[in-house]
């Protein structure tokens, strides 16, 4: 059989005596595993005695923020409910009582705000959509419950998550991004106005994409464009 010139002959590496015997390679391998076995460099984390290092922008359980007067920041604009891909947020808006001195400067507030934590996919779209930084995802990752009903967090529960995390001091770092609406703290509003415009651009881009309702909210943000 002639050796055709168009055929490329693969030259295999020559098997020496060591490879044909199997044993030297086996002993090499055994040495490696022995080194690992007796080396003692186990990299297992002993949870729950040792908690993992949660990055600051981890998307965990939601919380509803309070403003400096202690009221809920949420203005019931329905941006988060619309943006949510899992449709886990249910809001019932209510107008504020204009005679109440505490609520004079607010038009709307959420009478009921429910998040089904089991349906939620923890994507953070609601947090990105919110114009007033009312909803945030904390770093709480070990959420458990015994019934499906108790995992539907209502407004009080979400506000209590806020109270707990503020007390613990590990606030999420994604607050105060972009131009904030009237429900946000005054200090935060002036802070973000002096920050770079790139943050603003990014914000209006998401909100423009996500919002069909809440025209009042977009107008107040779009003023800087």
């Amino acid at each position: 059989m002639t050796k055709e010139k168009t055929v490329k002959w693969a030259e295999l590496p020559k098997i020496g005596l060591a490879e044909a015997l199997y044993l030297p390679a086996i002993l090499d391998g055994v040495a490696v595993t022995l080194k690992h076995m007796l080396g003692g460099k186990a990299i297992t984390r002993q949870y729950p005695e040792v908690e993992p290092d949660i990055p600051a922008n981890y998307r965990g359980v939601h919380r509803l923020n309070r403003d400096d007067k202690g009221r809920v920041k949420c203005v019931a604009c329905f941006l988060c409910e619309t943006a949510c891909p899992a449709k886990c947020i249910t809001i019932k808006a209510a107008g504020t009582d204009k005679d109440d001195p505490n609520w004079n400067d607010r038009d709307k507030y959420p009478a009921s705000f429910e998040i089904d934590e089991l349906r939620c996919i923890y994507c953070g779209m609601c947090e990105e959509a919110c114009p007033v930084d009312a909803i945030e995802l904390t770093t709480i990752y070990d959420l458990t419950g015994l019934t499906r009903e108790e995992m539907i967090f209502d407004k009080d529960k979400l506000l209590s998550v806020y109270d707990e995390t503020v007390a613990k001091g590990d606030d999420p770092i994604r607050t105060k991004r972009g131009v904030l609406g009237p429900a946000s703290e005054p200090a935060a509003r002036s802070d973000s106005a002096t920050q770079g415009d790139s943050a603003t651009q990014g914000d209006s881009a998401t909100q423009g994409g996500g919002a069909t309702q809440g025209g009042a909210a977009t107008k107040s943000v779009g003023g800087v464009q």
């Binding site: 020559k14 044909a20 015997l21």
Partner: protein, 393 residues
């Protein structure tokens, strides 16, 4: 019927059976735990350490779980054989353990407690090999009764592997049998003499290696566990088994493993002999116990090597497996046998056997290296064509 045996004859038997029946399942259970821990440390992690101190009660938790698991019997299995198969495998494994001494025994003892269930069986080794050959039935019946293509393939592969590796196992033991002059396992240990210079591994290193490798293949341990690996065959012959039936298969495998470790330690590593332990076996209690400890330590070392090899070596492909048995180990075992016959019948010193074994291994390796490259190169070249080849040459 039992009245013809006096109590003096029965009580050592009962105690020995009790020890074996208590230790072997418990050892099989704890070997799952030891294996998990060893695997974990090799892989830079910690194994089970939650149940009990250092995780030692994990095996007990596993046992409780297995007993309380729901017994799922698929509709399509052939029920009578389906139930019999794991039981058959376990019976054959346990029967083989009856002629293996688990402690120091005197081949001339007449009464009293002996650390072996069936003492003075003059065909002990032959009985052991014959009975453990029967455990192929358990595997094949299990695969057949499962009524499942993958189980059938796994069972057939396992059976082929099993009977292929029985031959080198038996052939490699022939040299040791000829040196000892008896098939009695207790005799074979005693013939290795006291101290360290009489161990059979110095005279038959090749046979020891081949016996060890063949017994790894017999028990379906890596690197020969093709019949039961998940990536190849779903679950192999035990796909349709769950709960206690599955654990019976595994208990049979671990019993085989224990028996084979014992055999390696007894036949090749001198059993309970160690430099410094001289005199008759039951001269003193401490001597007896020390010898027992020596045997247990040797068996533990062999088992540790087996467990470590599992996590060191990649799996053999089926044709490589069969090639190793038929084209590699059987010729080597036969030549080793011829070498032993020549040395013993011409009256040369036994110390010629060790360099003879090593020479055989080196010649086999050199021959493989010489002949493999050329044919493999041709096979590979035919498969690859240059992409720039013109259509009409």
């Amino acid at each position: 019927m039992l009245a013809q045996f006096s109590w003096d004859e029965i009580w050592p038997l009962a105690v020995a059976i009790g020890i074996v029946m208590a230790v072997i399942p418990g050892l099989g259970l704890y070997m799952t735990f030891i294996e998990r821990k060893a695997a974990a440390y090799i892989q830079d992690r910690i194994g089970p350490n939650r149940v009990g101190p250092l995780g030692l009660l994990q095996a007990v938790a596993d046992a409780i779980k297995i007993f309380l698991k729901e017994q799922v019997i698929p509709n399509h299995v052939f029920k009578s054989v389906y139930f019999v198969a794991p039981i058959l495998g376990l019976i054959c494994a346990m029967l083989g353990a009856s002629v293996v001494p688990f402690g120091p025994t005197d081949p001339n003892s007449t009464g009293g407690f002996r650390a072996i269930i069936a003492p003075h069986v003059d065909i002990g080794l032959l009985f052991l090999l014959a009975v453990s050959s029967l455990s192929a039935y358990g595997i094949v019946l299990g695969g057949w009764a499962s009524n499942n293509k993958y189980s059938m393939f796994g069972a057939l592969r396992s059976c082929a592997q099993f009977i292929s590796y029985e031959i080198p196992m038996g052939l490699s033991l022939l040299g040791v049998i000829m040196i000892t002059g008896s098939l009695n396992i207790e005799q074979m240990v005693t013939a290795q003499g006291e101290g360290i210079t009489g161990w059979n591994i110095w005279w038959q290193p090749l046979a020891a290696l081949m016996f060890f490798t063949a017994s790894l293949a017999e028990t379906n341990r890596l690197p020969f566990d093709l019949p039961e690996c998940e990536q190849e065959l779903v679950g192999g012959f035990h796909t349709e088994y769950g709960g206690i039936k599955f654990s019976l298969f595994f208990l049979a495998e671990y019993t085989h493993l224990t028996t084979v470790s014992f055999l390696t330690a007894l036949l090749f590593l001198g059993g309970w002999n160690f430099p410094g332990l001289t005199g008759p076996i039951d001269a003193s209690v401490t001597g007896y116990l020390l010898r027992w400890l020596v045997l247990v330590v040797k068996v533990a070392l062999v088992t540790a090597v087996i467990i470590q090899l599992r996590w060191t070596l990649p799996r053999f492909r089926f044709d490589q497996l069969m090639g190793l048995a038929w084209c590699g180990m059987i010729p080597l075992a036969l030549m080793n046998f011829i070498g032993v016959v020549a040395v013993l019948s011409f009256g040369f010193s036994k110390w010629w056997l060790a360099p003879l074994s090593i020479a055989l291994v080196l010649i086999a390796g050199w021959w493989t290296a010489k002949t493999t490259t050329a044919s493999m190169a041709r096979r590979t070249a035919l498969a690859r064509v240059s992409p720039a080849a013109p259509a009409a040459n």
